[in-house]
């Protein structure tokens, strides 16, 4: 029983702490839990421009910390998720999105799985057609000849 209570308290503590743990410094977190989790969700889609392969929520870079703070300011000011992302895209371009939108400059990026399927399928079909066809069954004359050869 005591053990169970301890586990429940621990689990509760972990769940409460979850939001603040996403970033290094709990002081950065917004007081409003709902707003904080929105800010985390937004930050996870945004690239840290210093380290380039981390989101601003994961990065320890100075610029990422500034961007986290700006994202939180805008969330607290009542901006929608898309407005916050657009605000950053206006400054840093679509590069700041970890998931780039589908547009002309990203056609090749998003289309590459389709290209791979088409090219791979084409090669597979081509190879199938080139496979040697099974020889036609022997006709009566050939079977007679075969038999006579085997009998000798």
């Amino acid at each position: 029983m005591r053990c169970g209570l301890f586990a429940a308290v621990l689990a509760g503590g972990l769940m409460l702490g979850g939001g603040a743990w996403a970033i290094g410094d709990p002081n950065e977190a917004l007081a409003d839990k709902a707003q904080e989790s929105r800010a985390v969700a937004i930050g996870q889609q945004l690239r840290c421009l210093v380290c380039q392969n981390e989101s601003i929520e994961d990065s320890g870079a100075d610029l990422a910390r500034d961007l986290r703070r700006l994202v939180r300011q805008q969330v607290a000011a009542g901006q929608s998720d898309e407005q916050v992302v657009q605000w950053l895209v206006a400054r840093y371009g679509n590069f700041v999105r970890l998931s780039p939108p589908f547009e002309w400059s990203t056609v090749l990026l998003w289309g590459s799985p389709l290209v791979a399927v088409v090219v791979g399928g084409g090669i597979a079909l081509f190879a199938r057609q080139r496979r040697p066809v099974a020889p036609a069954p022997l006709d009566a004359a050939e079977q007679a000849r075969l038999r006579s050869l085997l009998d000798t």
Binding site: L49, V50, D62, L63, D66, L67, L70, V89, A90, R91, Y92, G93, F95
Partner: protein, 177 residues
């Protein structure tokens, strides 16, 4: 169609890729291409509104009347030392350079400029680094060419090199003079 011609397709692909990479490397050594550069959203747009304190500080309204090179730098930034000579050369050639000290402390900036030379006609201080974010700066050093109408024409990420100056900046300075 002659099926043997099909064999040329992969060959042509390799040649095309090779030519592409060669052009990329050539433009990189000429200073007209930066492989790590993220395209700036400001090109062709007016400079974002700002006003920075400094020595003497400046704001968006001051970037007009002549082409101005705006250089974001910091005393703690190692590549900024690398470009110091290039900037001093530009200053001697008569290019107006306005500096923005990014997240720096005034005495440290002053010591840096004493040591490596001060190419800046005006010096703004962006201690919180928020003006840099409005400009889309990803790190220091970063340089922007503003034409006489206050429109951003060019951005260079990282230390300015002699090649970038001759290959990109000088033609643009002539164009927007």
């Amino acid at each position: 169609m002659n099926r043997r011609l099909l064999l040329l397709v992969p060959f042509a692909g390799v040649v095309a890729a090779g030519a592409g990479f060669f052009a990329m490397l050539k433009r990189e050594t000429e200073g007209t291409f930066d492989p790590r550069g993220v395209p700036s959203m400001l090109i062709g747009k007016p400079v974002p509104k700002f006003a920075l304190p400094g020595d003497p500080g400046f704001g968006a309204a001051d970037l007009a009347g002549k082409p101005i090179l705006v250089n974001f730098f910091a005393s703690w930034c190692v590549p900024c030392v690398e470009e110091a000579d290039v900037l001093m050369g530009l200053q001697r050639a008569g290019v107006a350079i306005y500096g923005i000290a990014y997240k720096d402390k005034a005495p440290a900036t002053a010591a840096f400029l004493d040591k490596h030379g001060n190419p800046y006609a005006r010096l703004g201080r962006d201690d919180p680094g928020l003006v840099a974010i409005d400009w889309g700066v990803t790190g220091v050093p970063e340089s922007y060419l503003i034409d006489k109408d206050g429109t951003v024409r060019w951005r260079w990420v990282g230390p300015l090199t002699a090649e970038a100056v001759t290959g990109s900046l000088e033609p643009l300075l002539r164009q927007y003079a």
